[in-house]
């Protein structure tokens, strides 16, 4: 694949992802604002993928340190994010009236 095509492709993916992100959040009730923030917070922890990729090819000490920290921070973000969000949403389970509304 030549460079220009590749570039167009990744830019397309990014722009479309942004549009989906804009559209997918519609009329969220205020009660869900905090959990939703926390849920999206967990999703950007996908940066761990980047951490894995760089640490995989690290060869010198500074690079090991940078890569290891990137994986550690990203993993904390992902795991903490999902656990916290789940705990918030756990609180909604017995609320029958919000469900019928």
């Amino acid at each position: 694949m030549n460079d220009t095509l590749l570039l167009i492709l990744v830019v397309t993916i990014f722009i479309l992802a942004i549009f989906v992100g804009l559209e997918v959040i519609a009329k969220v009730p205020a009660t869900l604002h905090t959990p939703l923030m926390s849920a999206t917070n967990a999703i950007h922890g996908v940066i761990v993928v980047g951490g894995f990729l760089i640490l995989a090819r690290a060869e010198a000490l500074p690079m090991y340190i940078i890569g290891t920290l990137a994986v550690l921070f990203g993993t904390l973000n992902v795991v903490g994010g999902y656990v916290v969000t789940d705990r918030m949403l756990e609180m909604f389970k017995t609320k029958k009236r919000s469900i019928t509304k």
């Binding site: 992100g21 999206t40 996908v46 760089i54 640490l55 890569g67 990137a70 994010g81 916290v84 789940d86």
Partner: protein
């Protein structure tokens, strides 16, 4: 010239069968956000998102490198050990406090996690820059620009989130921190960032790691300086915005590594986080610019006539309030920021149970932005086992205030300020409020006569039908409950 070979010399290719795994991850994320629009499906949505994440992370290990072998095959033992070690520590370090932390401390936990995400993005970009520099290579323009942007935004998100965490954890003063020439200093740093970024991009191969380090320091400083002038009560909006920032920076890191999981995940969060930030601002009837730059919450010398107009508030003791409550038939409790800070939800529940035993009808009025974050109050009350039937939203409760005997306002201020209804000069004009002043008697439990985060006096406090009960929400409510035992 092969873009891939330059972008990722010993690393990963782009667009092969493994990207299908990333696609599954991306579909899960999108589906999850869709499900999170409703309280019924929200929890399931979060789980689907987690499954998508497992896919994205797992696929990375079998992602073919340029040699054609899966990534995991070419891993040296040390790299593998560090990777799994950091991953394991991250899982334990994230899950354990995540389960243990008190519900009232959730907002600062989210701030901290978001900051770590931003830090991770900045580290990935730093690695790519140093790596290219060590090899003496000039990355293609798109990747160079993406590297610089993701490191700037990621670093700002990191330092800004840490400040937000500090403010909410009360390690730092919650009040806006303003100094003379603050905006000028911020503008200079922002300009320095732009100049440095251009120097690095134009310099190409000659761009030094030193310049890049200065860029990081500047972005770090701007993140701090951008957040400290904002009051503690506005932190939710700030965290939401920084969350969006981290998303965008992760998306840019996707360009750096030519990785579709990062491109899609980052782009999604960047965009949805921004929408969510704007929704939060709308719920407070404020603009984003007002939240970020107005320094709202700073103590201002009242100009013009005070809302109090020479009247002084009546002060009741908790025992007096207990008498008032015991003679009431219908009571509405309005929990606010002060109650959340005092973590008094369990005491409030106890008092409400006592009142219910006495045959008094108790309802809770929950303002959309009550607590420390939108929706946070519902979570706090749910934690204290307050029956959901007793929780009323703004539109449901407002018509009921006129037939209410006693309204007990616990550490809420701006959300019950009648000036929002008519005073066009008030910063909170137009914000939907709880019409507590329509009730027969309003009891306001507050620590003092201080203003709310909007920095305006509340004329409700000197109304004829209002009495004040000074003290922290927790102590006051406990004393009321004790006094109620006598009746």
């Amino acid at each position: 010239m092969n873009l891939l070979a330059q972008a990722a010399p010993a690393g990963q290719g782009l667009l092969n069968w493994a990207d299908f795994g990333y696609l599954i991850g991306a579909v899960c994320f999108i589906l999850a956000l869709k499900l999170m629009n409703s309280p019924i499906t929200a929890r399931k949505g979060n789980w689907i998102s987690a499954v998508g994440m497992v896919f994205a992370l797992g696929v990375t290990f079998i992602y073919p490198t340029l040699t054609g072998d899966p990534l995991i095959m070419g891993l040296k033992p040390l790299n593998m050990a560090l990777m799994l070690g950091a991953f394991a520590v991250g899982i334990i370090g994230g899950a354990w406090p995540g389960r243990k932390i008190a519900m009232t401390n959730m907002p600062q936990m989210v701030a901290l996690l978001n900051g770590l995400g931003g830090g991770s993005v900045a580290l990935v970009s730093l690695y790519e820059f140093v790596d290219a520099s060590n090899r003496g290579e000039t990355p293609p323009p798109v990747q160079a620009i993406a590297t610089v942007l993701s490191v700037i935004i990621g670093t700002m998100s990191f330092s800004g989130s840490l400040i937000a965490f500090g403010k909410l954890q009360e390690l730092l003063p919650g009040r806006p921190f303003l100094f003379k020439g603050q905006k000028a200093v911020n503008a200079i740093i922002a300009l320095a960032i732009v100049v440095l970024a251009l120097m690095i991009l134009v310099g190409g191969q000659g761009a030094s790691v030193l310049l890049f380090s200065i860029l990081i320091v500047c972005a770090f400083a701007l993140g701090i300086l951008g957040v400290i002038p904002i009051g503690g009560a506005d932190m939710p909006v700030v965290i939401s915005l920084l969350n969006s920032f981290t998303g965008v920076s992760a998306g840019f890191a996707g360009f750096v590594l030519m990785n579709t999981a990062l491109l899609i995940g980052g782009g999604l969060v960047g965009a949805s986080g921004l929408i969510l930030t704007l929704l939060m601002c709308t719920a407070m009837n404020r603009t984003l610019a007002n939240v970020l730059f107005a320094g709202v919450g700073v103590l201002v010398e009242s100009s013009g006539p005070s809302a109090f107009a020479g009247r002084t508030p009546k002060s009741y003791s908790p025992e007096d309030v207990a008498i008032l409550l015991s003679n009431a038939e219908k009571v509405v409790i309005v929990p606010g920021y002060g109650m959340a800070v005092a973590q008094a939800q369990h005491q409030v529940k106890e008092m409400a149970d006592k009142l219910a035993q006495m045959g008094i009808d108790v309802k809770y009025a929950v303002h959309p932005v009550a607590g420390r974050m939108p929706g946070h109050m519902n979570v706090l009350l749910a934690e204290a086992d307050v029956p959901y039937e007793q929780l009323y939203e703004l539109e449901q409760i407002n018509p009921l205030f006129s037939e209410t005997d006693v309204v007990l306002v616990l550490g809420a201020n701006d959300v019950v300020n009648p000036a929002a209804r008519y005073d066009k000069s008030s910063p909170i004009y137009g914000m939907p409020i709880l019409d507590v002043d329509k009730a027969k008697t309003v009891v306001v439990s507050k620590r003092g006569m201080g203003v709310g985060f909007a920095g305006v006096d509340n004329e409700l406090f000197v109304y004829d039908n209002t009495v004040m009960c000074f003290g922290s929400a927790k102590g006051t409510v406990q004393k009321i409950t004790q006094a109620l035992e006598k009746y």
